[in-house]
Amino acid sequence: MAESKTPLLDELEKGPWPSFVADIKMAAKRKATTMDLLNVLELSYKEKIVHWKHGGIVGVMGYGGGVVGRYVDQPDKFPGVENFHTIRVNQPAGWYYSSTAMRTLCDIWDKHGSGMTNFHGSTGDIILLGTNTDALQPCFDDLSEAGFDLGGSGSALRTPSTCAGPGRCEWACYDNLQVCYDLTQKYQMELHRPMWPYKFKMKFSGCPNDCVASVARSDMAFIGTWRDAIRVDAAAVKAYAAGELKANGGAHEEHVKLDIQKDVVDLCPTQCMSWDGDKLSINNAECNRCMHCINCMPRALRPGADQGCTILLGAKAPILNGALMSSVIIPFMPREKMTPVSDELAEFIENTWEFWDENAKFRERIGEMIERIGLRVYLKGMGIKAIPQMVKEPRSNPYFFWWPEELGLESNEEEDDD
């Protein structure tokens, strides 16, 4: 038997966790060129350095994104992956699949590409990892014929993504799957043709548990919430107290009895609950809907019935001035205004994009722009009134300024239009 050319990576075939090395080898059995992916990686493992380059405009007809160009830095040594681009395919909302559709996708990728994939990329797309420049258009043609389209890349709307939602979760406070789909369809132009200062991400979580990390990862985050009372099944509360139901929705390995006072009431961040050993009382006007009690007792407690979502703006990863989380802009949009997409929702999104496009510097995310110009400037531009829900606390420094019209002076807005 010939000596392995990838002794370092072979080590990663061992051990109990599924091995990506085994998968690359499996794909390489059908497509010899894919073996060069492993060979390049082996060199990286040996030299502790990367061997991929970005560059070159590659893509498909009519689109300005969806393909990420990738070239190996030693094409003579690794001809199989000389150019080895990524195709981003827009995933179905909530990542639900049928085996029929998935096999179609695999057939297309086996025909045109390396056979390697990510389910899914960081933004949420299906990642078809590695094919050459000539294969891009035929691959896209087949994808399109089968009902799939490309996702976003570059300074465009990035592929919106969302959690399991009402398809399989009782906590979805709006139809996050449908609104994610509807807005993705509505904004195909913005998704496929980069024309903004920088990227713009949208994520939709059904409840404040935020399974798609929208608060940390999206420029515009939609997080489900409610504004009436938590729905209580008093009999089920008693069943938890008696230990008949498993604490924390069964999240602990052993059958743990829920201590309603200690585990629920005492850990409530607003102290809006009390338990007299028989009845759980909730002062809903003081509740900030953190989900803890509901997470602990999913059979007894449910989000209220007057549901909708909170819209937040501005999250991003650290480059340039440190990471940002999104912050509250629209405290509550009723679910009826999310699906079907209302004029109010569409106007909020489009006006925000327009304001950002006009005011941001090159490569400035909306959160950075707001940090630079101040939230009040965005709010004024959007015609949104400041409310205390937008801040953790008011400022402690005296460096604030008045609008000219507040001082009876002429507004200088005309000058801004120059």
């Binding site: 590695g130 803890h292 059979r299």
Partner: protein, 362 residues
Amino acid sequence: MPAKTDIGPPYFKDFMSDLVKKNYGQWLYHEIEKPGVMVHVAESGDKLWSVRVGGARLICTDRVRDYCELADEFCGGHFRFTSRHNVEFLVEDQAKLQPLIDKLTAKGYPIGGTGCSITSIVHTQGWVHCHTPATDASGVVKSVMDELIDYFKGMKLPAQLRIALACCLNMCGAVHCSDIAILGMHRLPPKVDPEKVPKMCEVPSTIGSCPTAAIKPDPKTKSVKVNGERCMYCGNCYTMCPAMPLADSENDGISLWVGGKVSSARTAPRFSKLAVPYLPNNPPRWPETVEAIKNIVEKYAAGAKRYERVGDWIERIGWEKFFEVTGIEFTDKHIDDFGEAGSYGITTLRRTTMFKFTSHIK
């Protein structure tokens, strides 16, 4: 005939089973029956079991076809993925639940990742396919999960523990709000090849690509110069200009960050904070990184109260105690001095006498 453009994603309901469509938005409650197995019960009384399986993020179509076969045999062809690269097989017939579990187990697929577990690690491409990584992603993740797999298959921790990896500080994986974040770190600015730059690169756009204006033209060589003090190792210039690679065999490595979260349960979402500034790249198994993560997980498991996430635990005991309990060395790298006139550091310095005595005070 040209391809249709702008058709958008397939409609998600076209991929759902009749039972899921029937009970859409009508789910009543759920319970984790055992690690990796959840049941969702609808108002109609219908039940749907989800069996969660961990996997590599980087998988081949043969693997995906295997998922399809399993879904056909046990789930009427229906399955989904989670936001953390897990597969969930959606079982409607309870009689098929155990046979599915048996078959998955026989095939070596790990079942778990629910409740108070460590679920699959969200990660980026690393050396497999990125151009600016400071470390690999898939190999580090595989090494860490091989070691921590019992925490995936069990639910023994005080609360859920989410690990994420990004291979450089561009953080495609947005790891900055994880219980434990693994982050690739460059420690040197890009190395300019003054002969190649004028031939291979458009100098103005290379200069323009730098977010900190650290790149200036070098009229002598018609190349560029990098101001090392301003560079933050983002690799944007390398994206534009392949003649100024950022990666460095000896100096690149890994940092670890702890205590972040995204959910609002009990406490607001939080950023992860620096725990370990540097660990060497040591492929193929990154033993130093695996050991450091295992240590943090074990100290957290022993010290935290039930329902406390890693960040909740550290906040309760104090950071000085965290460094003592874990034995992680505290350095000047941990003190935040980034930003104009210390605007960031100002919020992280201790401006009270309320601290705990630890072995740091001699």
